[in-house]
């Protein structure tokens, strides 16, 4: 095991997979950084430090620094994937999917099915998502609810450095398109990561980060830590929380969720995306449909309000779910009679 940052887990996994498979190609804006400047290639090495050194190691044919052209980035990833390569495209900020959505939604997501199953599209589209940096409405969003609703996309949102490692390797080796969402406020977090260069975590297998048995809390990403804090606090009062880290929103590990809910009968879904037609609503519907007889309280969701993300520190803090808001929701479902 090695102790490493979340962002280092991203970079080292890409590095290892590029060493292993000459068909793995990286592309995106500033993935090299400094092209066409006096500072020269690698002057920046990617704004998230998730591609530093790749260009020096693998050269311009496999590490393709692109102009700011998100449609062309994802479209080129599609063309690379249809031509036998395994592209890893970086969109920098998840908010930029809007500019490239046709290529994600109408192209890579549909090729295999629409072309009669004879075509695979092994493209990984990476992007940094989430709030916490006061980056305001167009650089802070959580987009998994939009992408999870699109048939043909696998959607991954790791919480820990170890999960980054295992899930990103699975994504790169997967023959279908994968959206890989990295929470920007987690990049500097650290954790133990297996050194095995074949360490992989299969999609659709959630992680039970706390086991308690009285209430089920489901989340992923930055907010998972808050859920764990609530669980740890309530444990001191003798209340046991199951905290489920989804890892992937599509495919979805329904089994782990339903197994937990059948024991606890009480569910809180904590999500960073807005409340309507999102993960919270989706999972509340899931337990209502498939675990109705186990429920002892209405399932609740804790999400931001249905607004754009505000800028000022006070406003962003008030906008986001918090430990207090999650704890309040958990106590509400526990108190339901």
């Amino acid at each position: 095991m090695s102790n490493m940052m979340y962002r280092a887990a991203v970079l080292s996994t890409i590095m290892e997979e590029m060493e292993r498979d000459p068909n793995v190609v990286v592309l995106g804006e500033d993935v090299v950084g400094g092209m066409g400047t006096e500072g020269g290639p690698e002057a920046i090495g990617g704004i998230w430090s998730t591609s530093t050194g790749l260009y020096d190691r693998f050269g311009a044919n496999r590490v393709i620094d692109t102009p700011i052209s998100e449609s062309a980035i994802v479209g080129a990833a599609a063309g690379l994937a249809l031509s036998g390569k395994r592209p890893i495209a970086e969109l920098m900020f998840a908010d930029f999917i809007g500019v490239s959505l046709d290529q994600i939604w109408n192209q890579i997501a549909k090729f295999r099915y629409m072309f009669g199953g004879k075509t695979r599209c092994p493209a990984v589209i990476r992007m940094a998502y989430g709030a916490g940096y006061n980056a305001a409405a167009q650089h802070s969003q959580s987009v998994h609810q939009i992408l999870t609703g699109m048939p043909g996309l696998k959607v991954v949102m790791p919480t820990t450095p170890a999960d980054v490692k295992g899930l990103l390797r699975t994504a790169i080796r997967d023959d279908d398109p994968v959206i890989f969402l990295e929470h920007k406020a987690l990049y500097a977090t650290t954790g133990e990561v297996p050194d095995d260069r074949d360490f992989m975590i299969p999609f659709g297998h959630a992680r039970l980060s706390r086991a308690g048995g009285d209430v089920t809390i489901i989340s992923s990403g930055l907010l998972l830590g808050m859920c764990e804090a609530v669980a740890d606090k309530l444990a001191g009062e003798g209340i046991g929380c199951d905290v489920i880290d989804l890892r992937t929103t599509s495919p979805l590990d329904e089994e782990t969720i339903l197994d937990s809910v059948e024991v606890t009968g009480r569910v809180v879904v904590v999500d960073e995306a807005p409340p309507r037609c999102g993960l919270g609503a989706d999972l509340c519907a899931l337990v209502a449909e498939k675990a109705f007889s186990s429920l002892k309280a209405p399932p609740l969701q804790v999400t931001p309000p249905h607004t754009p993300i505000p800028f000022a520190r006070e406003l962003e803090s008030a906008y986001l779910p918090s430990v207090d808001k999650i704890e309040a929701a958990v106590r509400r479902v526990l108190a339901w009679r």
Partner: protein
């Protein structure tokens, strides 16, 4: 370079296959037997064939909603395509794609596309894949983006041209100017004085222009373009001036056409008629040679339609075939 007799016959046959494939669909669609939206390529055959006759399966093309001609010219099977358009489970895409989404990656045909302008970035990606693989004995494998005068106005096309230019990707942007983007004329919709090739030049690309109703003009221009791109000079573009003999889609009343316009372009701008006049006039082929091809093609199309009618229909279970995330 003079084409051999065999090459001339092959090119004519391919153009004739596309023509009769489309003319037959135009008739069959009116019976209601074929579902969905269909956009016919009739009139533009010399472009698809004049381009694709130069290519090997390792070269890639990305097509458009008006894609039957490109698919056939790149080697997609006639019967499998007809079955697909008929919606059969035996079709090239098992009845999942239909007219606008035909693909066969084994032939280097990376897909027709229902979204105007979506193809160009995909072609750049295929060209970047070629750059990773490096040149073969006759140079780099190329990727070709077929775009119409409609797609030339999409930002995706601009992004693709710039990305190809800055990465020197072996990508060729083939613009087929048939003078109509859906129901709107180029004189209204295309700035830059309706000169599409000049847009590629603005991105620093070398560009060619040729008469897209003249197979020999297309073929000659493409030989130059391909020599240039295969040698590693980066991307290039070519604009072909061509004609669309039918409407934007089948059922289009075409009220935007001028009086006598369709008769005029059929009489003066038909690439098959022009090919015949050219090769017989030069004594390269006889009318009888071409008539024999015509008869053979009519039989092939008749056979394809019969095969499509007789082919298995998909079932409700097929909806979930080739699904990799199921709920």
């Amino acid at each position: 370079m003079q084409l051999s007799r065999e090459a001339l016959l092959a090119a004519y046959r391919q153009m004739k296959i596309i023509r009769e494939f489309e003319e037959r669909l135009h008739v069959e669609i009116q019976t209601g037997e074929i579902a969905g939206f269909t956009h016919l390529y009739c009139g533009q055959e010399a472009v698809a064939v004049g381009v694709c006759e130069h290519l090997s399966p390792a070269d890639k093309i990305v097509s458009t909603h008006r894609g039957h001609g490109h698919c056939l010219a790149k080697g997609c099977d006639v019967n499998d395509m007809m079955k697909e358009i008929w919606g059969s489970r035996e079709g090239l895409c098992k009845g999942k794609g239909g007219s606008m989404h035909i693909a066969d990656v084994t032939k280097g045909m990376l897909g027709a596309n229902g979204i105007v302008g979506a193809g160009a970035p995909i072609a750049v990606g295929a060209a970047l894949a070629s750059r990773v693989d490096g040149p073969g004995p006759d140079g780099l494998r190329v990727a070709i983006a077929f775009s119409g005068d409609g797609a030339c106005n999409q930002g995706t096309t601009f992004e693709a041209m710039n990305l190809a230019a800055v990465t020197k990707a072996p990508c060729i942007f083939v613009f087929e100017n048939n003078h109509y983007s859906e129901h709107t004329g180029v004189s209204y919709a295309v700035g830059t004085n309706q000169d599409i090739a000049s847009r590629a030049e603005a991105f620093g690309m070398k560009a060619w222009r040729a008469d897209g109703t003249d197979f020999f003009a297309v073929h000659t221009a493409m030989r130059e373009v391909l020599d240039y791109v295969r040698a590693g000079n980066g991307p290039a573009a070519v604009e072909f001036d061509t004609e669309r003999f039918f409407g934007h889609f089948e059922g289009d009343p075409q009220r935007y056409r001028g009086p006598g316009e369709l008769d005029r372009i059929r009489a003066t701008r038909d690439c098959l008629t022009k090919f015949r006049a050219s090769v017989t006039g030069a004594g390269l082929l006889a009318d009888a040679d071409l008539d024999a091809v015509d008869a053979d093609v009519m039989g092939a199309i008749e056979g394809a339609v019969a095969a499509a009618r007789a082919a298995d229909r998909p079932t409700a279970e097929d909806v979930l075939a080739d699904v990799y995330i199921a709920y």
